[in-house]
Symmetry: C2
DNA sequence: CGTCAGTTTGACACGAATCAAAGTGAGTGG
DNA sequence: CCACTCACTTTGATTCGTGTCAAACTGACG
């Protein structure tokens, strides 16, 4: 089963029998609320978003970031209840599906069913890496890893060149992703900037030295796509 | 799509066209090595195992635990290369499948394809919760969460009553799961034991007060299984 | 011109890591 | 049957990384 292909948003987008509509959202919009039983499944067509969970006293943990091609709300579709919230980091466009069509999708479009599983496996791979980061990397290593990771993700969907190459997050987002306080996050990012590895702009980050970041984090980047063995 | 059913190992086990054989392993056996391109996909039929990643200087992070009904090696089957290792925590029995049959499984058994995606969504849910733990919970909260979590998982596959109700891990495993040093882990577990929330045995843990652990961690347990809406 | 979100910096406190050492119990070999 | 080893657990002393508190700075916006 090395013969996968990456999930193409357009693919689901034009399977008219599954598509319900398109949705545009502003920066900061809460797209999905923890505990909700959303009736919909979404594909992100453009923009950035993030998933997070909160504890009752306000502690927030960002779980992962969403870029074009990613699914939102699969958990709700499959398990029934969303266990995390989703918020827009930039203006974005979503493609909306009826979640109750999901089982017929598996029946009628096994290729798409496999693509969904492929996406879920990718997500699991990213979460594994984040866990390694939170559990065993120092603050500096975590920050370097996160920025290298986000740069890679942006590059993989063509956002790395030209205009959009800045990662649209605040230091508060970084802190809540890395499990650090915002003060310590600021001091850590400052060190990375002083070493010319990154540049911090108003509410975004520019990666100047990807290799340097990856070396600090001891991270090799996402695995090479395997060529089909047969 | 609220009408899911939990994945039954027996289900895959007796789909003879996919099954390759059965495999028995001792405690401590490395079942899958990070970086390998395993030709097989497994279902755990009995026993406990855990997934982990390591950094080159020996820092280890345990990602999650595997119990009967869980899949091993799906990542390898779908992405091509394993990005984590798997080790047995107890004697265990695996059911082995050829991974190259996976796409034909999606074609011919869409119901099983959906079950695999369901399992992947469950794994993602657990990893999300672990991330919240590592990022935003204190040492005490993390320990309480982990033990409550493992108790729940064991109970959900019928391991909670009688003989097998002890969780077969060492304090080193707990430390590597929670991202703590083994010394601090010991002191934290000691406090839980002094409060009669757990009892620590030779190389295992007995949960005495599940509610108490869940209250400390501020964790509600896995979501209720949704009844079908229609 | 004031407000507000975001960034920056310094002083201090605290939680967790590290260092060191001893206790326990199972297994092993003499 | 008794030393011996080895993995695991336990405890105390000290160090260090990160959190908390406090305050100032910046730029966008109304």
């Amino acid at each position: 089963m090395d013969t996968f292909r990456p999930f193409e948003p357009q693919e689901l987008r034009f399977v008219s029998s599954f598509k319900t509509g398109e949705l545009v959202a502003e920066t900061g919009t809460t797209l999905i609320q923890e505990g909700s039983h959303s009736a919909h499944l979404y594909t992100l067509l453009s923009g950035w978003a993030f998933r997070y969970k909160m504890l009752s006293d306000g502690r927030r943990q960002i779980l992962n970031y969403l870029l074009p091609g990613d699914l939102l709300g699969l958990q709700g579709s499959i398990i029934g209840e969303m266990e995390h919230s989703v918020e827009a980091l930039s203006p974005l466009v979503l493609c909306v599906f009826q979640r109750d069509r999901l089982n017929s999708l598996f029946e009628n479009q096994p290729g798409l069913g496999f693509d969904i599983t492929w996406l879920a496996a990718q997500e699991e791979r990213m979460l594994d890496e984040h866990l390694l980061s939170l559990g065993r990397r120092t603050a500096m290593e975590r920050a370097a890893y996160l920025l290298a990771f986000l740069y890679h993700r942006a590059a993989s969907v063509g956002l790395a060149a030209g205009r959009g190459r800045h990662i649209p997050i605040t230091q508060q987002h970084v802190a809540d992703t890395l499990g650090l306080s915002i003060v310590h996050t600021n001091k850590t990012l400052r060190k990375l900037a002083d070493r010319s590895l990154i540049r911090w702009l108003d509410r975004s980050c520019e990666v100047l030295d990807l290799e340097g970041l990856m070396a600090i984090a001891e991270w090799d980047g996402p695995p090479e796509r395997r060529r089909p063995l047969i």
